[in-house]
Each structure stands twice: as C-alpha cells, then as structure tokens.
C-alpha cells in the first residue's frame, strides 16, 4: 500500500476481548514491500523506485475496562525506503490510534455462540510528518474517526467474524500552496475522501492457538486516479483487497504470553502498491486489578 497502516495483531478488528483490568501489551514489527503498483487501474512497475519498503515498529495494547468493554491503543514508528532511483526515504513516529471495543450482545445460536461488537476508533498524527511525499510518506496525516460493526460466530473451535467499517478522514494540509487533482486547487488543504472497509476472517480458535484466514477490502469513497506517469497524491482513490493469514499462539509454560505472526498480500488494488506484508508481535498480559485472576474464563483472551 502507499499508506502504512499498523494492522498488526488486528486487535481492533478481531472478536477477542480482554478480561476486566487485564492489560495486554507488547511490541510489534511489520515489514511491507511492493515492486508493482496500480497507477489508477493500470498495474505497472517503476524503475525509478525499484522496491518500496516500509518497516514499522509499534507498541500496542488492549485494556479490559470490563469484560465487555475494551480500549486499545497503538503507535508506530515508520521507516520507508525505495531501493532504486534517487528519492530519499522518510522515517518518523506516525499516528496514535485509540479504539473502544464494546460487546453488547452475546447469545447461543444453534450449537455456537453469536457475539456482536461495536467499535469506535480515533487516530491522529503524533508528529508533523510529511503527507505529500508519496510513496515515501509514512502516512497521510489525517485525523480519523472510525465506526465499525462486527459480528462473530463460534462453534466448537471454529469461528467466522465479519465487520464493516466507515472511516471519516479529516482534510490535510501540505507544504505547497497549490496542487492539481483533476483540476487546479489554489490551496494547501486537501479534501480527503472517507473510506469504507469490509473484513472477513475465519478459522480455528482455541485458548492456545488461533489460526485464521483474513480477507479485507478497503475502498476510498471518492478521490481520483493517479494520472499517467504522475506521482501518487494523498487524495487518490486508494482501494485494496488483501488476503492473508494470522496465527496466535499462547505457550503452555507461559499463559500470560502470546506470540503473533501473520502476512497478507494485496490481491487487487487501485492507486496502491501490490504489497506483501509480514508482521510479528509478542504480547504479555498484566493484571492491573486487585484480584489476581488468570485468564481461564473463556477462550477469548489475549
């Protein structure tokens, strides 16, 4: 993708809740790179960029306010680089993301359990990084508000989770005083279209092991295509459908620890790079409550 998104561990978009007073926290690392990208709908390479890579080191955490209400945060440091051409890479602290995840409803349906989630998110840049330096920008510098509805069904150790998200994105200001999209703009402010995403994940989920396949579709609700041989721009219509897998393992000897790894690939896109992304993280669960209770209540614990 042109925009590095810290999607590691997916805690804001999975159906896993922390126990009350439990804090699950840990570092993550993501490596993403692409050689081909879509200029509008045209797939091409660019010898003057070579392979564009993004590395992200993030800190992520989830806290259980109650069993049904979790708050999540993440903040990554991002480094971009192009393997060919002359453009300078960029590095810096990107956006702070905060999510509130609420599970208002759970019911037994058939032999399984059906759970509904409502998620609200907020993200905002932590630094004044450059948005208008794509594809080497570390982000788009928008402040986002996100609303997500999600449903999960688990029967035995098999589950399926689906969600739909609407992302409001604020306008962004850039360093130049004029820019051209499909027409001239005499302003340093870019009107940013909102986004919608759909996510489907399914697989195996037990206390020890989660293994899932994930499909994600991201659509920009507006924006314009990169014109022929032009550079990308923050308000491009960036769409991507990705497919991938995630695995989370909690070793028997250390039930508070979990190891997470995954990868995904852009199957189809528009104004984005065809990125292959791999990530890994280690999380540790701290119980901040008075009761020293471990996570034996159910399978849905980090």
């Amino acid at each position: 993708m042109f925009v590095p998104i810290l999607s590691m561990a997916q805690t804001d978009i999975d159906a896993i809740m922390m126990e009350k007073n439990a804090l699950c926290i840990g570092p993550s690392y993501t490596y993403s790179s692409w050689k081909n990208y879509w200029e509008g709908k045209l797939k091409r390479e660019n010898l003057n960029l070579g392979t564009v890579s993004t590395q992200m080191v993030g800190l992520m955490g989830t806290y259980g306010v109650t069993k049904r209400l979790n708050v999540l945060f993440s903040a990554p440091y991002v480094i971009t680089k192009a393997s060919a051409g002359t453009l300078h890479g960029y590095k810096g602290i990107q956006d702070l993301s905060l999510f509130v995840k609420y599970s208002p409803y759970k019911a037994k349906i058939g032999d399984g359990i059906f759970t509904v989630f409502a998620i609200g998110g907020f993200s905002t840049p932590l630094t004044n990084y450059v948005a208008d330096f794509l594809p080497l920008s570390i982000g788009l510098h928008t402040t986002n508000l996100l609303a997500r509805g999600m449903a999960d069904y688990q029967q035995g150790n098999y589950f399926v989770t689906g969600s739909a998200t609407y992302v409001y994105r604020s306008n962004v200001k850039i360093d130049r005083t004029s820019y051209y999209t499909t027409e001239a703009h005499l302003s340093n402010e870019i009107e940013m279209p909102d986004m919608a995403t759909f996510n489907l994940r399914f697989g195996y989920r037990s206390y020890r092991l989660i293994a899932e396949a994930v499909f994600n579709n991201m659509t920009t609700l507006g924006g314009f295509d990169i014109t022929r041989n032009n550079m990308p721009f923050p308000s491009n219509r960036m769409n991507a459908t990705t497919g991938g897998i995630n695995i989370k393992y909690t070793p028997a000897f250390a039930p508070r620890l979990s190891i997470v790894g995954g990868g995904n690939y852009v199957l189809k896109g528009r104004n984005v790079g065809q990125a292959l992304t791999v990530d890994g993280a280690i999380f540790y669960v701290l119980n901040l409550g008075r009761k020293q209770k471990t996570d034996t209540n159910n399978n849905q614990t980090k």
Binding site: N48, H88, L145, N171, I174, S178, Y180, A184, L186, E189
Partner: protein, 515 residues
C-alpha cells in the same frame, strides 16, 4: 437486544455528524472581490507595446452610437439575461469580475499543471515525444515542463498586454460609454467605471488568451472555449458590456495574439528538444573539455529536457545579449572545490529535518505542478489583487514578470547545456533527494534563475515588498541545495543571473510609459 440498538444508533449518529461536516476547500482567490481599479489608466493607449509597432496596428471600427436601435437592442439583451438570471450565472459573474488577466493566468497555470508530466518510456527504453499535430494521443501535447511553461506564460501575458494597449487606445478614441452609463435604469452586477467600454477589455484578454492557447494547448480547446464563452457571457449578464463591446474586443485580442503566434512559430522553441546527434554532441563536448558530462539519473536514461531551449528568441534582449548573460564556468568536476560542494549537499540531505522538507516541498514545483514560473505568477497575482490595478496594468505587470521568467529560462538553459554539468547525485550516488531530480544539467539552478528574475521584477513593481521577494527568492534557491538537487554555486550564481535578466524587464518598465 436494546444494547445493540443503542450501540448502532450511537455509531450512526457519530457517522452522520461527521458526514455533515463539510470538507470542501476554498481556493485562495475563489472569493476575490470584483476588480475596482483605483486608476483606470485612461492613457494606457500611449504605453509601449511589446510586438505591435503602434497601438493602431490592428484596426478596430468605430462603434455604433448609443442612441441607435442596434445599440438599444444590445442593452435589452442585457436586461433579458438579467431577468432570468440563475445562481450559476451569478457565480460566473462573481468569478470573472475578479479580473480577466487574473482568471486567464489561473487557467493557464491549471493547464500547465495538467500537462507537466514526463512521458512514460517505450518498451525498448527510448522515450516518446508529444506531437502538437496529435495532441490527444499519448504522450499528450505538450509536456509543459518549466521552460515550456515559462514561454507559455510569457506569450499569453505579452499578447494580452499588447492587445490591451491597443484596446485602451480605441477606448479613448471612440469614448463609447459603458452600458450602465448610457442607460441608468440598467441593473449592474459589477462595480461601475468611467472607463469607455468599447472594445471590452475582458474580451480582449479572453481573445488573446484563446488565440495563443490554441498554439500552446491544442488538445484542450473544449476546456478553453468553454471558459471563453462563460467569460463573455458573464460580462454581458453583469451589464459591464454590450455584445458589440465583446465582439470588437475579442476580435482585437485574437488579431494581436496572431502576431505573437507567428513570432512563437519562429522563435526556435519547436526545435528545442534536439535529437540524438545533439544529445551525443553535448556529452562529447563536455568530455573534450576534460569534464565529467551530465547524464540522466532516470531509468531508463531520458534525453535531456529541451537542450536547445537556450537558443529560443528572448523577449527582452537579442541573442548576443542572451549569451553575454551566461555566467563563467562552475568548478571543474574533478576539482577539490566541486568535491567540497558535493559534500556540502550530502551533509544537508543527511540532515533532512522537517523544516527542510517544508522549504523543499513549498518550492519544489515539480511534476504535475504549474512549475517555478507559475509559482511566481501565483505569488504576483495574489499580491496584485489588493493593489486594484486596471486590467491593462495587470497585464503589463504580468507581461513584465513573465517575459523576465521566460528569458531567465533561456539564459539558464543556455548555461546548463553550455557546461553540461552533472547533478550532485551523479558525483555521489549516496545523495538521495527530498524531491525528484529534474532531468537536465545542474549548473545553473533553474529555480534560482527564475526566482532571481521574478524577485527583481516584482520588487520594482511593488517596492514595499522588495525584501519579501528577495528572501523568497533566496529560500527558493536554498531549497534546491537542501533537496540535494543542486550545489551551492548553481544556486548563488543562478540567483545573480536571474537578477541580471530581471533588470532588463525593470529597464523596460521604467520606459514603457506606465510609470
């Protein structure tokens, strides 16, 4: 279940609130006030034109008297338009009333930005060239790169200026009053003026723009004609002009512009791209001088941008003067001085602070933008708006600026291809740049030359802003070192050369009769 309903209702409410917040962005000149000249420059017909021998070179017939049935019918046309005026028409009137020169300069800048895209390579690693005869085929004509753009701004501005000098001559000669001064019952949607309205200055500017842009942007005629129609209609609807003012003005603008088009066809810009023989010769010549020749840092290597643009016929001086403005050589590519300069650049790009990016990107004016010349036009236009110039003074100031910018481009390109000096990254590949490296030799910096020229002209036009323009030019120049694109000597000498070119425009300004 109630909880679900509440949660969903909450989400929907947040989304609706957020969607309701308008994101639409207002451009800096969208709400520019209607032009109300402090001085109508009634004697601008005596100002010195650029190409015309006299302001009466093009004959404009005497207008019908204001008491004739023909004229009264034209007044009634205005009234009929106004009776059924739509919001769209009101917006059109407001947009165009800010000034004809301003709006056509913005339109030109828009077309430059649209067309400032380097062609994608062929499968065999060569590059296609746009063709003026087939402008809509890929690569579209033109590739409005910085020299092309500077020349375009100059021709459009100078043609508008000459045409307006002629128009002012006829305005004074025929002295036909504006429609609202003939018929006081006429509703008028723009500020009134005592300036005679025949021929219409707006239509003169529009006619000159349309005619020059046929040559410069032949593939965008639908867009240009649509703007022209809107402009003319806006002036009639507003009550500023009757139809015969418009028709005479447009015809005058076009006729004057044709003289500029004829000049443009013979100014050697058409051959500026060169050919393989020229490109090879430049390389061989540099090697023969014992220097490392420039080579393209693009993959595949792209032929240099308009290597013969330095031979284009300037507006402000003859070709010998152009050559005399060429500075002495840069340090030899194998010298310690050059190595030191490259090291300085390397140290800057290692220290890529946020402030460096701000400066670099503010001035980059690279691919997909209106180029450095357009940036200086934008700076000038926004400073001219509060000055309340007449259209003819707007045109004169823009013509001075843009002739200086074009001629700065000529001298700069002559210098670049005379010395054919490599970019810092060629000498030290570790130098990664904060914006794209332009595909032509380093010495002297185009940004610095353009900016030095623009600052000199604008400082003369608005002396109160002289310090501001000087520091802007210095920042524009510095931005290229911070970006890793130029050595310091490219920039400091570029600024000087630009200033020398700009001074020719200042000399002209002092003697053109407008001061």
């Amino acid at each position: 279940m109630r909880k679900i309903v509440f949660a969903l209702a909450g989400i929907v409410a947040i989304v609706l609130v957020v969607i309701a917040c308008s994101k639409s962005v207002t451009g800096r000149t969208d709400d520019a006030a209607a032009l109300t000249p402090e001085n109508v420059d009634i004697n601008a017909g005596d100002w010195k034109p650029v190409l015309l021998a006299t302001p009466a070179d093009i004959v404009v017939a005497a207008p019908a008297a204001t008491n004739t049935p023909d004229y009264i019918a034209q007044i009634n046309e205005i009234k009929a338009w106004q009776q059924n005026i739509t919001q769209e028409e009101k917006d059109m009137v407001k947009y165009w009333s800010a000034g004809a020169v301003l709006r056509w300069n913005e339109i030109l800048r828009e077309l430059v930005a649209k067309h400032n895209l380097p062609p994608y390579q062929n499968d065999d690693g060569t590059y296609p060239f746009p063709s003026a005869n087939n402008p809509l085929a890929y690569p579209q004509f033109p590739f409005a790169n910085p020299p092309y753009a500077a020349r375009a701004y100059a021709y459009v501005s100078a043609a508008q200026y000459d045409a307006l000098v002629s128009a002012w001559y006829y305005k004074r000669l025929y002295n036909r009053k504006a429609p609202y001064n003939v018929d006081s019952s006429l509703n008028v949607l723009i500020p009134k003026s005592e300036l005679p309205s025949y021929p219409s200055e707006d239509a003169v500017v529009e006619g000159a723009a349309v005619e020059t842009m046929k040559l410069l942007f032949p593939g965008d005629q639908d867009f240009i004609q649509q703007k022209a129609e809107e402009h003319k209609r806006a002036r009639i609807i507003s009550g500023a002009n009757v139809r015969s003012d418009i028709e005479a003005g447009e015809a005058l603008g076009k006729a004057v512009a044709q003289k500029f088009v004829t000049r443009a066809r013979g100014d050697r810009a058409g051959a500026a791209a060169g050919n393989q023989t020229v490109w090879t010769q430049l390389e061989t010549d540099a090697i023969a001088k014992g220097e490392i020749p420039w080579y393209s840092l693009e993959l595949p290597k792209r032929p240099p941008m308009l290597p013969l643009f330095g031979k284009v016929k300037a507006f402000l001086f003859d070709s010998l003067t152009a050559i005399s403005l060429r500075p002495g050589p840069p340090p030899s590519t194998s010298s310690k001085a050059m190595e030191d300069e490259a090291n300085e650049v390397y140290n800057y790009i290692k220290d890529d602070t946020r402030e460096h990016y701000r400066i670099v990107h503010f001035w980059a004016d690279g691919v997909g933008t209106y180029t450095p010349a357009g940036h200086w036009d934008a700076i000038a236009a926004e400073d001219f708006i509060p000055k309340h110039y007449s259209e003819v003074r707007w045109a004169r100031n823009m013509a001075l600026l843009n002739m200086a910018l074009m001629d700065a481009g000529i001298v700069c390109w002559d210098t670049k291809f005379f010395y054919f000096n490599p970019r810092p990254t060629q000498l030290n590949p570790k130098i990664k740049t904060l914006t794209g490296i332009p595909n032509f030799p380093s010495y002297i910096s185009g940004h610095s030359t353009f900016s030095g020229a623009a600052a000199a002209v604008l400082a003369h036009i608005i002396p109160d802003n002289a310090d501001k323009y000087t520091s802007m030019a210095q920042e524009a120049s510095l931005s290229r070192i911070l970006a890793g694109i130029h050595y310091r000597s490219d920039c400091s000498i570029g600024l000087e050369v630009g200033k020398n070119v700009g001074n020719y425009a200042v000399l002209r300004a002092q003697t053109d009769g407008a001061e």
